[in-house]
């Protein structure tokens, strides 16, 4: 059977997210409890989490989480990392053996900073340098896969139900100001750890529920800019789009949302002239980055989360608020499970991004 | 408002319909000398021939008077008009007042003095349905009929009774048939056709004297007959109008609004004179379409509308024993002629307008010619050579064609 990257696999999913607007620490246990409720939305072939603010002691450094199939792969990869980065710390990621999670690869974590001379030689900005290194490892080193590469954040994922994955990674030992979670229901996969979600690049991580019909249009466009969509998953390409628009093109997240879930022309037509011109401009300029088909995504980024539905709202998505916390999930039950008494709960409209950031 | 109409034929009916176009409610009283529901006078010959029936001859449907709120007074002859008191007096001494009066009294047969005619017992004129009914009663397959007059009435009468009698002889003083509407060549063609259909024609001759069943002609011939029909001509009924002091020449004089010299009195139909557009002369145009249009015009004006009838022209269409002829206008100026075995065409034109035409046999689309006469269409604005061959709209200018076939309705060209 072909795995992610060799074939495109559609999947249904569950997603959940929590953020503290005050930047207060949230224990990883909460997000595990939230995603656990939506057990039936996944089928045991993938689960994962992203936590932000979890590595305060290493917050100036890129935290690489890497799967290795073999020791040889690890050695080759570490040689590559050594050549390009100063490694501040490295270790295996602590895990807990449980019966539900099997066949685990080698899972390592590195806190790194780009090698100053290598960076200068590359004539790239730091983030681009790091991103390119990640692409090189993932495409060129057989058996090595960097699945998390941001600062003060980390992705934890595996083949299994998400609540088991949370236990496996001992998430109750982490605290962060925001978390996202994903439970996967692929229709066809042998289950490859790298294929689980969230998908992350640098500080961006995406959990996504849906199957986008614009995939190949988006992918082929993104590949023009050096993004190699090796996994052939929606989440991967959405991550790259957000990275491209936000990081490379300097769009705000609202503007990014106006591109990927652009309003219908009929809606744009009714806007005031200035807004009409702006929306038309964005939609036309990045026409190939419009995402159609059902999706609900939670984008994790530094100091914030964004939830976005496709324009027709073909996937469920609800948002709840309680004090400084904002909850985002596929189902209300996933929010009630960890916060029964909400101040407010609502379903965002299709195409309207909900962006929550940590107050500075 | 009370309208009084004298006459129940085309002009009278036209007048009533004209009034009703403008005034839906005013009182209309219509007097008819005859007893019948309005009927079409020219159909009496068709009736004799069996081509129509008394029912079909009705000029308007049975409900006509009722529907148009007309008080219909049949068998009631108006004997005099008092234009000062604005009343009309009818036979029985009754007076009826009017606000507007229409005189559509029609015409009557003209009978020149013919010695011994009083000796003829079976003697008929051929103007009214009563005449036809009287004549019809006497027809037998053996009857020998003498018709004096080879005009429209005489010949239609001949056609009407031909199959029902033994022999028909038509005598006329003129040297040809239908002298008022046909030229010599056309007359000759019709004469031949009549002869072929068993009508004996004696032309350039007239009756010198009658006995009960014989007529001695000026030429010395003697004709034996059983029935005599006199169809020498007609005269307008203008007596009451004249007595009332209205201007009368050959017929009652009207203006283009059909108003007589008295502003409350109008006149239309065979009793009036018209301005013949084709000849530019005042003349009596005793023709049904003309009568109707005059009557309608008068009716509209009587009811306070504004209508002008300035398109009067002579126009005749008739068939005799299956041969059709249509004629219109006056025969003056240059002439284009074309004759074949069974058709004849003659167009008269002068001073850049079509003046008149005669068509026999092939009469299709003749109205195009008629309208050219009526509208005085300048011949240099049309392809007259083409028109000579056939009456066709294609001979008109592009704009004119566009007007005729592709606009809401045809607007008459503005002249002057």
């Amino acid at each position: 059977m072909l795995k992610e990257g060799q074939i495109r696999i559609p999947s249904g999913c569950a997603i959940s997210g929590i953020i503290s607007r005050e930047g207060k620490p949230i224990n990883g246990r909460d997000i595990v409890e939230s995603i656990r409720v939506m057990h039936d939305r996944s089928n045991g072939l993938g689960g994962g989490f992203a936590g932000y603010g979890i590595y305060p002691q290493y917050k100036e450094h890129y935290a690489f989480h890497i799967f290795y199939d073999t020791q040889e792969a690890r050695e080759e990869c570490e040689r590559f990392i050594d050549r390009h980065f100063d490694v501040i710390n490295l270790s295996k990621i602590p895990t807990k053996k449980i019966p539900a999670i099997t066949d685990e690869p080698l899972i390592w974590r590195y806190f790194v900073s780009p090698h100053p001379t290598k960076l200068a030689d590359s004539q790239l900005d730091e983030s681009e340098f790091v991103a390119r290194c990640v692409f090189r490892v993932n495409t060129e080193i057989e058996g090595a896969y960097i699945f998390s590469s941001g600062k003060n954040m980390g992705v934890f994922k595996a083949v299994g139900f998400p609540e088991d994955v949370g236990e496996f990674y001992r998430l109750d030992e982490y605290e962060g100001y925001s978390w996202t979670a994903h439970g996967r229901y692929p229709t066809n996969t042998p289950g490859w750890w790298g294929g689980a979600h969230p998908f992350a690049l640098l500080n961006y991580s995406i959990v996504h529920n849906g199957e986008i019909s614009s995939y190949d249009a988006n992918r082929r466009y993104m590949e023009m800019f050096g993004y190699r969509c090796s996994l052939q998953t929606d989440t991967e390409v959405i991550t790259y789009i957000i990275d491209y628009l936000s990081r490379k093109k300097g769009l705000s997240l609202e503007e990014t949302a106006n591109v990927i879930a652009a309003p219908f022309w009929s809606t744009i037509e009714k806007k005031p002239e200035e807004e009409k011109l702006r929306l038309t401009y964005l939609r036309n300029k990045f026409a190939s980055l419009l995402i159609t088909g059902p999706f609900s995504i939670i984008v994790g980024f530094e100091k914030g989360l964004m939830m976005l539905n496709d324009r027709l709202k073909l996937r469920s998505a609800v948002i709840g608020e309680k004090d400084d916390r904002v909850y985002m999930a596929s189902e209300e039950s996933a929010i009630r499970a960890i916060e029964p008494e909400l101040d407010k709960i609502w379903a965002p409209k299709g195409g309207n991004p909900v962006i929550v950031t940590v107050n500075e | 408002m009370r309208y009084v109409i004298i006459g129940n034929s085309a002009a009278g009916i036209g007048c009533a319909e004209g009034i009703r176009k403008t005034d839906k409610d005013g009182e209309i009283i219509l007097f008819s000398k005859e007893k019948q529901h309005t009927y079409s006078r020219p159909l009496i010959s068709y009736w004799l021939e069996g081509k129509t029936s008394l029912e079909k001859m009705k000029y308007r449907p049975d409900h006509f008077y009722k529907k148009n709120k007309i008080v219909f007074r049949p068998s009631t002859e108006v004997v005099s008009i008092d234009p000062v008191g604005k009343t009309v007096r009818i036979q029985k001494g009754e007076s009826v007042s009017y606000d507007k009066l229409m005189i559509a009294s029609g015409s009557k047969p003209f009978l020149p003095p013919m010695p011994g005619i009083e000796k003829v017992k079976k003697r008929f004129s051929f103007m009214s349905l009563d005449d036809a009914v009287q004549l019809e009663k006497q027809l037998t397959p053996e009857s020998r009929v003498l018709i004096v007059g080879a005009g429209l009435i005489g010949l239609k009468c001949a056609e009407g009774i031909r199959s029902r009698v033994g022999k028909i002889t038509v005598v006329d003083l003129a040297d040809r048939v239908l002298p008022s509407i046909l030229d010599e060549k056309a007359s000759a063609m019709i004469r031949k056709h009549l002869k072929a259909n068993g009508i004996d024609l004696i032309l350039s001759d007239s009756v010198a004297s009658f006995t009960a069943k014989t007529a001695a002609l000026k030429s010395g011939k003697e004709i034996r007959f059983d029935l005599l029909v006199t169809a020498v001509g007609v005269r307008p009924n203008t007596e009451q109008a004249a007595q009332a002091g209205l201007a009368v020449k050959k017929g009652i004089v009207t203006d283009l609004h059909m108003r007589t010299s008295d502003p409350s009195i109008y006149a239309a139909g065979d009793c009036t004179e018209s301005q013949d557009v084709s000849s530019g002369t005042q003349r009596i145009l005793a023709l049904l379409p003309n009568a109707y249009m005059q009557g309608e015009c008068a009716g509209i004006n009587m009811a306070g509308g504004n209508s002008v009838f300035d398109k009067a022209i002579p126009m005749n269409s008739m068939g005799l024993f299956g041969l059709h002829m249509v004629t219109a206008g006056t025969y003056e100026g240059e002439c284009y002629r074309k004759k074949t075995e069974d058709s004849y065409k003659c167009l008269y034109y002068k001073e850049n307008v079509l003046k008149g035409f005669i068509l026999i046999g092939d009469i299709g689309a003749a109205g195009i010619y008629t309208s050219m006469i009526r509208e005085q269409t300048p011949l240099d604005s049309v392809d007259f050579d083409l028109l000579k061959k056939n009456p066709r709209l294609i001979a008109f200018s592009k704009d004119e064609r566009e007007q005729k076939i592709n606009t809401r309705f045809y607007r008459e060209p503005v002249k002057g």
């Binding site: - | 308007r60 379409p289 294609i394 005729k404």
Partner: protein, 147 residues
């Protein structure tokens, strides 16, 4: 009201209107049966020369001279449609002599006249000439408001 208008610009001189008219008024259900081997007597006729062609049928004038001229009362206008009552018509052809468009024809077989009645008296439902015109040269439309 809707009237038939002819735009000679689009007339292609195919004469189909004549055949469709003859067929519509034949009472037959098949054109072949109706028109094969007969000389057609349509109520619309195409006039043409080598440059121009157009069809002419009754314009249903608002102030119809044919109706006024009719000696029998067989022609009448109702709801804007001028029709002939062939029961009353005696075939005197006065209307033919009067119509400025040449749009009334003798019906020689019956000794009466015939004319376009906008297919209101046959089973066509709408004017057959309009329906069958391949180039929109004959239209049946409302123009009163535009004037």
């Amino acid at each position: 009201m809707k009237r038939v208008y002819v735009n000679e610009k689009w007339c292609i001189s195919c004469h189909l209107c004549e055949y469709n008219c003859a067929f519509a008024n034949s009472g037959e259900t098949s054109m072949v049966k109706a028109l094969k081997g007969v000389t057609i007597r349509p109520r619309i006729r195409v006039e043409e020369n080598d440059r121009v062609s157009f069809a002419v049928a009754c314009r249903h004038c608002p102030d119809p001279i044919c109706v006024k001229s009719c000696i029998t009362g067989a022609l009448s206008a109702k709801d804007g449609i001028i029709s002939v009552d062939s029961w009353k018509c005696v075939g005197c052809y006065t209307c033919i002599c009067a119509c400025p468009y040449g749009a009334i024809q003798p019906d020689e077989t019956r000794g009466v006249v015939q004319k376009c009645e906008l297919c209101t008296r046959n089973s066509c439902g709408e004017p057959a000439c309009v329906k069958g015109c391949p180039n929109g040269a004959i239209v049946f439309e409302e123009r009163e408001k535009k004037q």
